[in-house]
């Protein structure tokens, strides 16, 4: 294995049949207390021999693509390379890739290799500066392949133009894995002096694998997109199960609060169709319940949909497959049209915000679209105009706010969540992370990582991709981080981010230090004077 800090893009094909580099646990970014001692860190999970045999573990020993069985015969290996190149050709096509070709051509052509983007990447920094995680690494490898096979310069003077790469099946396999070492958070894009997007290359490699080679991580494609198109939700919740769940949640809410709130379902012509990430119903049911309380208390004309494509706002297609993204977005829009609602309001899910409001925005003519907006400005206005009788002292603990990249950096929704937090938290209890807002760092679960738990991928997420966020959280709470007597709540208004925090807290045993995490709406309900019992479970336990 080669020390990752010494690798260059041309080295990606080195050591065929072996692991190219490794996560150097001694070089990982140091952390403040209580994790200042590396002995407290999660232990590296070496890939099992049978994993190595079957899957592509030869990049850094981590396996993200759990459906990619490496080719064994020469014919299979050649076919893999052929298919990959066929995908690259389509990636470069104005027709097959029309939705991104302009951005791609610009990023492909103009990178000045100034490496400004590298300083912005949380994964590169957290890894201890392993080159394979540098935002320009996979971009440069792909650029070399494009030059070699699809440009005249690359054919005539390969070395001179930087097309001197030997494209083996192993390079393809490693490149595919490397595409899943990027959270697609676009922080690198934000700092680039030429506004080029290196995450775009990660996404395009994922697309080549998914759209041409039919290879994508199971949680994204088979258990994600396909399951959602088949049952209505990536969680597998069917319409009948959904209806049962809502009934159950409303009953639970009545038991807890002493008030009967009914979640409206399939109300024709309502003003608002609220769409949750269906994962909330299973993992964090208090979140949709809080929405029901807040929307009913405000007297809003709203509904949920039980249409097969109307009760789960997720869209994993935006991370790896254009067709899946479009199919899901179109179906969700159709569900809203069927109900005749005025607007779709996206609940606490970052990528669903971006998928429905931004990515899908140019899929079809505006006249066919039901307007999409975030729940945040709506709730901010309700809170600030005094709709709810709030007592911030009921949230008597420390909190910090995680900014989901998808609707902060990529949609410019920054202030409403802060206005809400300042209204429901006691003065001085809300501690911002640094940096925050549009300059935030990803939770480490972005672009599908939060739901990818195959083999040893969780180690990569909890120890590398979420590491910068962990550092930010610890720094935000300062000395209180190591004090188990002080309650610390990480406000994460996004399902995927919450998933990443859930696993992070567990992997680092942060419950021992009294860390909790959850959404934003729960804090609002917890501050309502109307209810005697705390809404937040960890306060009830006390």
């Amino acid at each position: 294995m080669i020390d990752g800090r010494k690798l260059g893009p041309r080295d990606i094909g080195k050591l065929p049949g072996e692991q190219l580099t490794f996560i150097d646990t001694k070089q990982l970014m140091p952390l403040p207390a209580p994790f200042d001692n590396p002995d407290t860190w999660p232990k590296w999970q070496e890939p099992k021999p049978e994993w190595r045999e079957k899957y592509a573990a030869s990049l850094d020993g981590v396996i993200a693509i759990d459906t990619f069985e490496t080719p064994k015969t020469k014919e299979e290996q050649d076919e893999l390379v052929r298919k990959f190149l066929s995908g690259v050709e389509k990636m470069l096509s104005n027709e097959a890739n029309k939705g991104i070709i302009q951005c791609l051509n610009l990023s492909m052509e103009y990178c000045a290799k100034c490496n400004t983007c590298s300083n912005a990447c949380h994964i590169f920094e957290a890894s201890g500066y392993n080159e394979i995680y540098r935002p320009t690494y996979r971009a440069e490898v792909l650029r070399m392949i494009v030059k070699k096979y699809f440009t005249k310069g690359g054919k005539l003077m390969p070395k001179f133009v930087g097309a001197d790469i030997d494209l083996t099946w192993e390079v393809v396999a490693r490149l595919g894995e490397s595409a899943y070492r990027c959270n697609l958070c676009r922080r690198c894009n934000q700092t680039c002096p030429l506004a080029l997007d290196n995450s775009l290359f990660a996404k395009e490699i994922r697309k080549i694998f998914s759209q041409e080679m039919g290879i994508a991580p199971k949680p994204l494609f088979e258990k994600g997109d396909m399951l959602q198109l088949k049952t209505g939700s990536s969680t597998g919740i069917t319409k009948a199960a959904f209806l049962d769940t809502i009934e159950f949640l409303d009953e639970d809410c009545a038991d807890l609060t002493g008030y009967e709130y009914v979640t409206p379902i399939d109300k024709k012509g309502a003003d608002i169709l609220l769409i949750h990430n269906a994962g909330e119903f299973m993992a964090w049911p208090e979140n949709p319940t809080a929405f029901t309380i807040l929307f009913n208390e405000a007297g809003l004309d709203w509904t949920l949909s039980s249409d097969m494509m109307g009760y789960d706002n997720v869209n994993y297609g935006i991370w790896h497959d254009d067709l899946m993204a479009k199919k899901l977005a179109v179906a969700q829009n159709e569900a809203a049209k069927k109900l005749g609602v005025q607007r779709i309001v996206i609940a606490e899910c970052g990528h669903a915000h971006k998928a429905a409001a931004v990515v899908a925005d140019r899929f079809y003519p505006g006249k066919d679209r039901v307007p999409v907006q975030s729940f945040l400005p709506l709730l901010r206005d309700l809170v600030l105009k005094g709709t709810y009788d709030l007592d911030p002292s009921r949230n008597n603990f420390l909190t910090t706010l995680h900014d989901p990249c998808n609707y902060v950096r990529q949609m410019g929704i920054v202030k409403p969540q802060r206005d809400i937090l300042n209204a429901v938290m006691p003065k001085g209890n809300f501690h911002e992370m640094e940096p925050h807002g549009v300059n935030n760092y990803c939770c480490g679960g972005g672009s599908g990582f939060a739901i990818m738990n195959s083999m040893n991928f969780t180690y990569f997420r909890n120890s590398v991709s979420s590491r910068k966020k962990l550092q930010q959280v610890l720094n935000a709470f300062g000395e209180a981080s190591a004090d188990p007597n002080i309650i610390k709540y990480i406000t994460a208004p996004c399902s995927n981010c919450k998933g990443a925090f859930r696993d992070l807290l567990e992997a680092w045993h942060m419950e021992d230090y009294n860390f909790h995490y959850g959404g934003l709406v729960e804090l609002v309900v917890n501050a309502m004077t109307k209810f005697e019992t705390p809404f937040l479970e960890f306060l009830r336990d006390e």
Binding site: G87, G99, C103, G366, V414
Partner: protein
Amino acid sequence: MILTIFCWLALILFFGLSLWKAKQFASLPMHGRQDLYPIPLESSEKHAYGGSYMEEDRWFEKEHKHNNVAMVIDMLGEMLFIKKLFVNQNKFWWISYALHLGIYAALAWTVLLFVGAFAGMESAFGSIVYVLVTIAGVVAGVLMTLGTIGLIVKRLTVLEFKNYTTPQEMFNLFFLLAVAVTGLLTFLLNGCNFTYGYAITYAMTRFQALSEVCAGSLYPVANTGILYLHIILLGLVMIYIPLCKMSHYVGKYFTFHNVIWDNRPNLPGSKVEATIIKESSIAPAPGKNWSAPHYQPAPAPTDEAK
């Protein structure tokens, strides 16, 4: 006369090829939204923290005004000072900025020489122009030389740059260095003045042979060998720039305006909607679409299934 024609050709090709490059990008289909905040086109209050119109309840019913003044200020900051590099990679900004400032000075020098070709050196206005030509020329030569040498040294010695730099990228830097050095040598070997520059633009605007102008009394140039070499290199680099990644002055317009700042929503009756409708016919030719199984049309039901 050949050199005079070459000078015009280089100038025309520089602008022509740059426009062709811009046209190539502009003619590509409209992409999906890639907004990235902060966006200076938003109101100054929102731009300050990176907010957008999507922070408003029922944003689609509200007027979305563009803050063009802030956009121009932001754009100038990038164009004139490479602001993002200064903020995010201050350590190397000085080297890169030296080269870019040198190029800006060279552009100013060129424009001033064309003014000087008509103003001459005798009048008061002509004298002022000459002073400006001298300042711009010296600044251009010195900064371009220092900047390119700095970047070459950086790319040859720092591993994180060396590993990612192609021979062509080194060639580009050496090409610029050669132009800057021959320009400085022409200046130094011809009495430390820019009479040679006047000779070039005079010959171009009067369509005279450069050798005749250099041999004449109005703008005499003694060492024409180095001048001719400089002109050939300068002309070649002007033709070459739009054809390589040094044309990023074209790309940068698109990456900012058309990509990360383009947050125009697809509202009914909007220009975005019109473009979507217009481009809806763009689709891969048969056999050219993606090949994964889920991209294939569902098979027709069999008789048995029917």
